[in-house]
Structures are given as C-alpha cells and as structure tokens.
C-alpha cells in the first residue's frame, strides 16, 4: 500500500470514501434527513387526529380529495413513520454514524477493520432507504399495514408492502455488514493497554448493539423472504386456510400461520429496542462523566448489566403477543423474563444517577440533553412494566398507552441522547463550537413539547383509545372523555417541530463560524479527544497512536494538577 498521499478526487474523498469518519458523517446526514421526513409524516397524521375530516393545510393538495387525509393514506403514514424513524433514522444515526465515527477513535485505531465493507454498508443503507421511500409513489401508496406488517393484512396489501419488504432486505444486509465490522474492530484493533475493562462505556454499548443486530436481524430477513414469497408467488406461509378477502375466497393452499410471522418479527423487534437504547446509554455515560468531572459510578455494574440485558433481550419477545391466545404457562414464562429484564435497565439508570452525586456539574447543552434523558427514560421504562404484565396488558395492548411508553424511551429518550452526542462531539468533528444559547433553547423547548405530545397518551390509552385509528377515537364512545387531548398533543407536536429550528439554525451558524483551534474543549479524558490530530481529523486519526494506561473516566484524581487525567497519560 502506498505511503504517499496522492491527491484524491472529490468522488473518492467524499462519496466513495472508505474512511470511517467520512462514512460516519454520511450516515449522520442521511439519517438526520430521514428523521426529519419521518417527523413530517407524523405532523400530517396529527392534524387528522386533532381535527378529523378537516383539510390539512400546506400539504393538503398532495393527500386526497378536498385536502383531507384519506384513511388508507393515514395508515401508510403511520406504517412509514415507524419504519423510517427506526430503520432509516435512529439506528443508522446511533449505530452507523456515531459508531463508525467514534469507535475507532475511542479505541486508538486508524480505521475500522474492513474499510471497504464499511463503505458498502453505507451505500446499501442509502439504497435500501431510497427503495423504502419509493413506496409512496407506487399504485396504492406506501406500506400501510403498520411497521409490524402482520399477515394476513400485510400479505394482501397493495404493492407498497412488497417495496417495504425489498427495502427491509437491503437495510438488514447493511446492518449485518456494519455489525461484523464493529465487532471485529473492537476485538482486534484496540490499541496497547486498552483492555476490555478500560474501554469507554460508549464502545461497550456499540459492541453489544452489534451483537444484537448480528444475531437478531436474520430471522426477520427470513420472515421477509417468506412474506415476499406469499405475496409474489402465492405461497401460504402466513395464510391460514379459508380466508375471505373483500367477499372473495382466497385462491391459495392455506395451512399457514399468521403467528409464525409474529414470532419471527418480534424475535428481531424486541432486541431491536435495545439496539435503540444501548448507544444512547453509551453517549449519556460519556457526557455525564465529562460534565460531572468525576468517574462514572459502577463501571463494572454497567458493563455486566448491559451484557445481561443483551442476552435477556432474546427471550422476552412474546410479551408483544400476549393477546394471541397463548397458554398461561408460556405467557408466564415470557412475563417472568420480561420482569427480569427490567432489572439491568434499573441498574444502568441508577449507576448514571448516582454518578451525578457529588459532581461538579457543568450545565452545557450536551449535559442538559443527557440529564433530560434520565427522567424521560425513567418514565418510559416504568410505563413498560404494566405492559409487561400479561394481565394488565389485556387492557393496555394496542392502545395509546403503548405508543406513549415506547415514544418516551425513543424520543425524549434516545433522540435526546443523540442530540447530546451531536452537541458534545461537534467540536471534535469540526474544530468549531455550537452556540450555547440556541442549544439551551433547543433543549428546553423540546423537553416541554415532548412531554406535551406523549404524556397525554397514557391518559387516552388507559381510557381505551386504540392505536392506529384514523379518526383518533372520535367515533368511539369510550374515547369521548379524552378526545380533546388529541388537539393538545398535536399542537405540542407541531411546536416540537418548530423547536428543531433552533437546532438546524445552530448547526448552520456553527458550521460557518471560525475554527477555535482547540482539540479538547471539554477537557475530556478519552483518547478520541486527547490524542487525535487537530480537527477536522485527518488520515490516520492520530499523530502518534496512543498507549492506554488506565480507565476512561479519571476525572478529579486526588493529587493531580488538572481535574482530568487522559487515558493515554501515565498518572
């Protein structure tokens, strides 16, 4: 391999690059765009929920007759909002962007183990996401059977569902390539002295996430292949005998089982939620350690809890299927494992909370988002408990209570952590600082609006309002007492959208500001801050590849001159 640095063309430097930093930024920009798009879909849906049957302003002409959102399109927006936010937005941002950019830097590696494979995984993601979204342009519109695509509905749905399946196959492939890369990189490319228990918690979370994706995604790929076969060549893997659709008996062999899809789907989709939260735990840990100027409390407990969480995530999935007629024994099994899996989450949250005690807390923008994450994830986690108990779930299943629960963990949970990460690592990527005033405005407005959108969902859910209702429950008697909350939630959602302008403007202004020249403005201890070349980071990442001498959070070491001791400095 040539040692000289030949001049690279624009295309090989920025587009087909195999440099993990460029690929990380590619994942970051693409996923942020999809997050915004997924948000916009929901903003349209929420108009219908607040004012059923009214013409939707601005985009009404794209929707239906008279500018009113038709019910089938409402279903498409719902299914695509979920799919896009999870598979095109959060996971590529948390794992593809943050993981690719930071893991090599935090372990002292010059790149990922397989740079070309890395580029392949990004472009597969890009292609898969484009395929996914073309569903909106096929006859019948995009997939409209929920992000969960349950048969027989999904099997008999319009062409958009086939497009969804093809998109998913590509996205899953991208994910698998990325997982292999992260796993091999962390195992093989740790620098001298970087033993397992000296890894930053961020790297541990990416490692465990990669394992979950590696082993849990393929069964969904298998299920996707089976559903494609059902739709395209008329097999009956998921189709029971004797189905009648729109008054006509289906001409297929029958003998299949919709439950089979549910098992294979949730085998992935439950570990998937831990894929959504683990990187967030990692980012929040880094930001809290840095901004309390003290070591994290319970490093070992955090690692063991996360590993245990990863393992347990494979044996709880049927708590999404309590109402499918399963027997009491099997229901009790899944209920027990589900209750047990709440324990490591509590251990992790407790460790993070205890880490604040006695800290010299700096309330900068990343820290505000990290602090906000803690109670929001707490609410999300606690509201998961009644859902995990089979008896209570009889009442709560498929209601807005579920939507409230999972949005709390992902939206003011994971997404807040991701914002914390963006604000925190922005100086490392660019050599510039973000504007603190805009950052604080972004945080406080988002925090208030998030709660405005999702807290009332617990109320409407408990009242019995089902999810995926096009009219928001207007035609259901039991929703009468709580229907007016829809308008409050919608207005909060639209204000939440406006609040993101603080972030977007901040990014634009900050990117155009002058470089500060600082390499470690947060006085952090991890080697991604202390030993990398001056930002923006160049080829090879480090002027000299560092050796690591101790743990990652040596802040306020007694007797030390400064309040932080870099990992690469003998102390």
């Amino acid at each position: 391999m040539s040692e000289g640095h030949h001049k690279q063309s624009f295309w090989s430097k920025y587009i087909w690059s195999t440099d993990h930093k460029v690929i990380g930024i590619q994942y970051g920009i693409t996923s942020l765009v999809w997050l915004l798009f997924g948000f916009a879909l929901m903003a349209i849906m929420r108009y219908q929920l607040a004012y059923p049957g009214s013409p939707v302003p601005i985009v009404g002409s794209l929707l239906g007759e008279g500018g009113i959102l038709p019910s089938e399109m409402y279903n498409s927006l719902g299914a695509m909002h979920g799919t896009i936010m999870i598979f095109l937005g959060v996971v590529p941002l948390a794992f593809g962007a943050f993981g690719n950019y930071l893991v090599p830097l935090q372990i002292g590696a010059i790149d990922m183990a397989f740079p070309k494979l890395n580029a392949a995984s990004y472009w597969t993601y890009f292609l898969g996401s484009v395929i996914m979204v073309t569903g909106f342009f096929v006859p019948g519109g995009a997939a409209n059977s929920g992000w969960t695509s349950y048969p027989p509905l999904a099997n008999t749905a319009t062409m958009g569902q086939t497009v969804w399946l093809l998109g998913m196959v590509m996205l899953i492939t991208s994910s698998l390539l990325g997982s292999v890369n992260i796993l091999v990189t962390v195992i093989q490319l740790r620098t001298d002295g970087m033993t397992w228990m000296k890894l930053p918690i961020f790297v541990w979370t990416q490692f465990i996430t990669a394992f979950l994706l590696l082993l849990a995604f393929p069964p969904l790929e298998a299920a996707g292949i089976l559903q494609l076969m059902d739709r395209l060549v008329n097999t009956s893997f998921f189709m029971p005998s004797g189905l009648v659709v729109s008054g006509e008996v289906l001409q297929n062999a029958g003998g299949g089982s919709p439950l089979l899809w549910q098992h294979l789907f949730w085998f992935l989709a439950h570990p998937e939620v831990y894929v959504l939260i683990l990187p967030a735990f990692g980012i929040v840990t880094e930001v809290i350690a840095n901004n309390t100027r003290k070591p994290i409390k319970g490093y070992n407990s955090l690692v063991y809890a996360m590993v245990f969480l990863g393992f347990m995530s494979f044996i709880v999935w049927a708590h999404h299927m309590y109402l499918t007629g399963m027997g009491t024994t099997i229901g009790a099994f899944f209920q027990t494992t589900t209750m047990i899996i709440s324990i490591p989450s509590v251990v992790i949250l407790t460790a993070l909370l205890l880490s604040l005690w006695g800290g010299s807390i700096r309330f900068n923008t990343p820290m505000l988002f990290a602090l906000g994450f803690l109670p929001m994830f707490g609410i999300g986690g606690l509201t998961g408990l009644p859902l995990g108990l089979a008896a209570a779930d009889i009442h709560l299943h498929d209601t807005y209570y579920v939507i409230g629960h999972f949005h709390y963990v992902v939206a003011p949970g994971t997404i807040f952590a991701l914002f914390a990460g963006i604000y925190y690592w922005f100086p490392k990527l660019t050599g510039k600082r973000t504007n603190e005033t805009l950052g604080k405005l972004h945080f406080f407005s988002s925090f208030i609006c998030m709660n405005g959108v999702f807290m009332p969902m617990f109320v409407t859910g408990l009242a019995g309002v089902s999810r995926r209702l096009w009219d928001g429950g207007e035609s259901y008697a039991h929703a009468a007492g709580v229907f007016q909350l829809n308008e409050l939630m919608s207005i909060s959602a639209w204000l939440l959208g406006v609040a993101q302008l603080f972030f977007i403007i901040n990014m634009v202004i900050s990117l155009r500001s002058k470089k500060t020249g600082e390499s470690n403005p947060w006085s952090a201890t991890t080697i991604d801050w202390t030993d990398t070349t001056s930002p923006p980071l160049g080829h090879g990442n480090f002027d000299k590849v560092p050796t690591v001498y101790h743990g990652p959070y040596e802040y306020s070491v007694p007797g030390s001159k400064k309040d932080f001791l870099p990992q690469s400095q003998k102390g």
């Binding site: 010059i110 195992i187 082993l215 393929p218 298998a222 062999a253």
Partner: protein, 196 residues
C-alpha cells in the same frame, strides 16, 4: 496506512481480522437459515397432513448432490492446504475441481426444479413445497455467491499470490470457511426436506 492484524494474527486473540469477520458473518447465516428451519418446524406442527419428502422429491438425485457438495468441501480445504504448502498449481487444480462440483450441484438442482414444474408442483401448491423451494432456493443463491467468489480467486484474484501470498492464502481460507458452511446447511437440509 495498513490496518493491523489483517494478515498477521493479533497475539491475544490468535486471530487475523478476516477470520474473525467470516465467523461472525457465518453466525448471522446460522440465524438466517435458523429462521427458515424454525418456520418449517412451526408450519409442520400446525397441520396433520404434512407430506413425506419422498412424495414429491427425488432422493437419489439429492444424495448425489450431497456427495457433490461433500467432495467440493474436501477439494476446497485441499486447495487452501496446497497454498500453505506453497504449491500454486495444486491450488488451481483443487479449486477447479471445487468449482466443477459446485456447478454439478446447480445442474442437478436445475433438473430437480424443472421436474417439479413440469408436474405442476409449485411453491404455491402447498406449504411443504413452499418451504422446500424457499430453503433450497436460498441455499442455491448461496452456492452461486460462493462460485462467484471462488471463481474470482481462481481467476483475476489469484494475482495476489505473487504480491502478497500470505494474505492471499488467508482469503482462500476465509472463502473456504464460507463454502464449508454452505455444505453444512445442505447436510441438514437434505435429511429434513427429503427424508423426513
């Protein structure tokens, strides 16, 4: 700027990167075919009238196919061993035999599938045939993928033997591991679909 441990093993793990990578990839493949095996078990348990493999399938042909794959597996490991023993010509010889056996497998599969279609046995006919076509079809796609990569290392890719023999040997070992896995899947597919 070279990635460490691409060729030389990392001391504490004893592995080079590609070997670890392919085993992780094979782990995901176990789960992919596992999903289909799980579907097979689930579907078969759901009905009383699951047909026997011999009702539809040709056991002698599939036995021959099994022998083809086992043979290709041994010639594949022999081709890697030849590189370790510095015999490039033997490597080419064994790799060619491997490819021939792999093509043989595809040819027999072609005859099998055509025979089904000519009897009007399609994936949609019943779930046994559905899962048969899906599982063997996915397996065939993996065979084709293997042929492409092994073929590349037989042909243009083999130039690396001159510039970086150790790295080339590792690559052949890695594709060999993939190929053995494809053989492994068939070792289970054959009795499950054809004999049970």
């Amino acid at each position: 700027m070279d990635i460490p441990f691409n060729v030389k093993e990392r001391p504490d793990t004893g592995l080079y990167n590609g070997k670890l990578g392919i085993w992780f990839f094979l782990a995901s493949e176990v789960m992919l075919f596992g999903g289909l095996f799980s579907a097979y078990i689930f579907l078969r348990n759901g009905v009383d009238n699951w047909p026997a493999g011999t009702d539809y399938l040709d056991v002698p042909l599939a036995t021959l196919n099994t022998l083809f794959l086992i043979s290709s597996s041994v010639t594949m490991v022999m081709s890697w061993a030849s590189l370790k023993l510095n015999d490039f010509n033997k490597y080419k010889f064994y790799t060619l035999i491997t490819l021939l056996f792999a093509f043989g497998f595809l040819v027999i599969k072609y005859f099998e599938y055509s025979a089904k279609f000519s009897h009007h046995y399609y994936p949609s006919t019943n779930n046994f045939l559905g899962i048969y076509f899906t599982m063997t079809g996915l397996h065939v796609l993996h065979i084709i993928g293997g042929i492409l990569v092994i073929g590349y290392f037989y042909g243009p890719g083999s130039k690396m033997w001159n510039s970086d023999p150790e790295r080339f040997t590792n690559r052949v070992e890695i594709v060999g591991l993939y190929w053995h896995f494809v053989d492994l899947v068939w070792i289970f597919l054959f009795p499950v679909l054809y004999l049970l």
